[in-house]
Symmetry: D2
Subunit: 153 residues, 4 copies
């Protein structure tokens, strides 16, 4: 496993602050549980209003926490005065997203000045057992000298 | 454009019924606005609680309506006693998902007995102008002789 | 269909020159048959040594001409003093790549200063009939002020 | 790492036999160097006629050996009377494919009766050092009771 050294010593606060501004995370009840250099974990407790027609987590919700886990894993390595943007990702759904909660673990595969590639695993957790239910391969862009906050007004 | 003939004459009701059981659609406020053979459109009005850190729709929410638009486009062509499952998709985010609402249009590219491939375009609509903001390429599986409803209990 | 205006009036010669330096194209016998603003077509006649185990074109060869068709479609719109790099693509194989030849048509979906997104269709042509056999969604990067030629030595 | 038990004890011979019928592998000079349950490695020595315009391996050639490495990793776990088909893959190009040779290592991530998902890493090897240059996420289909050989005639 590659060991990364963040360019910005305050990377943790920067990621937590950005996550707190992702309003969708509050709506669905997602929690940021781990922020390390090149690695972020987001957990999502089961709720009956996050589902597809069979009562499992909707693939779009699995994608939502997977995308943010990878995006913030990349963002841990970005410079202080930058923002992060997903340019694309691909997700394979390996097993039903069924369980008490989902856990999405994003890891930087290849950092870069402009583009960073992440690998994300999403686990369905039931009775303490974590089962891999989705895998993402994702490209993030560093937006240099761009605020991570919304435009004013 | 290929013209498709659904195997199940009641495909519209079957799709609408399944969509109504996707609880996430109610949570985010998504609406099923078009159901035709091999084509489904889902719209999503802007809400401040569906966003990423810049105040635009989160990529996962764009994925959520994109995935369902493609999935139900495929499902229009499935037999009556089947269910639909997304096996994978890839999404490219082409422009900020900013506007009054998103419109996701899913189209069947290639139907098949086991696998169906769909192409999905997501537009950001502002002042009556629709701008392509995301593109998905997606694989759906037909689950033959499987109910589209949740397991009992 | 979007109409594009190339920044470099000599885009045709630039693309043809670069294609001629892709040695793999000569090895497999691929031909550059169309170069228009934002659109490139590459054809590949069938040969028994380009196949997978069933005697059809190998998916990697379908990918090879698909990747170059999309890459050069993007490159038509790039500035004169730049090079092109594929950062990623996804391919869905829709039907057996069986026929007298393959035709890959790459189209720019969204040009950008740094990243360009292309949509590529690959057709299997038999007895004058073209059947869509693969679809790619691809991201290209503009390498500004970088020669498109190999490093010296 | 999951340990897999092949359904067919003769899986090694079956994979080697199929690889030998992939004529493209002979054309480009690819070698099958490792066949284990759920894992296959293919190596490709550098040749000047396998390149893109900068003199590196063409992304389509990286894809070609990556696709076969993942496809045969899946095929090790398939029943004796079956064939294998790639339905889709996504590839991220992480670094220039530059070196003495490429090594593609395909691993089964999730086996299934109908669909198997593989993760493939491609390394560029130079002076004994292997650098990750591409990553694939791929879906394979088991074609039950279908010969892996070409149709007669």
């Amino acid at each position: 496993m590659t060991v990364f050294t963040p360019a910005d010593p305050a990377y943790q606060a920067r990621v937590r602050d950005s996550f707190a501004r992702q309003s969708i995370m509050a709506l669905i009840g997602a929690e940021l549980v781990r922020v390390e250099p090149g690695l972020v974990e987001i957990q999502l407790p089961y709720r009956a209003d996050l589902c597809q027609q069979h009562g499992f987590f909707h693939a779009g919700i699995t994608s939502t926490i997977g995308d943010s886990a990878g995006g913030y894993a990349a963002y841990t390595l970005f410079p202080a005065d930058s923002s992060v943007l997903t340019t694309e990702f691909k997700i394979n759904l390996l097993a039903p997203a069924a369980g008490e909660r989902l856990s999405a673990v994003g890891r930087v595969l290849k950092p870069g000045r402009s583009l960073t590639i992440c690998d994300v695993e999403v686990f369905a957790v039931q009775d303490g057992e974590a089962k891999l239910c989705a895998k993402l391969l994702q490209t993030l862009m560093t937006m240099h000298r761009k605020t991570d906050r919304p435009p004013p007004g």
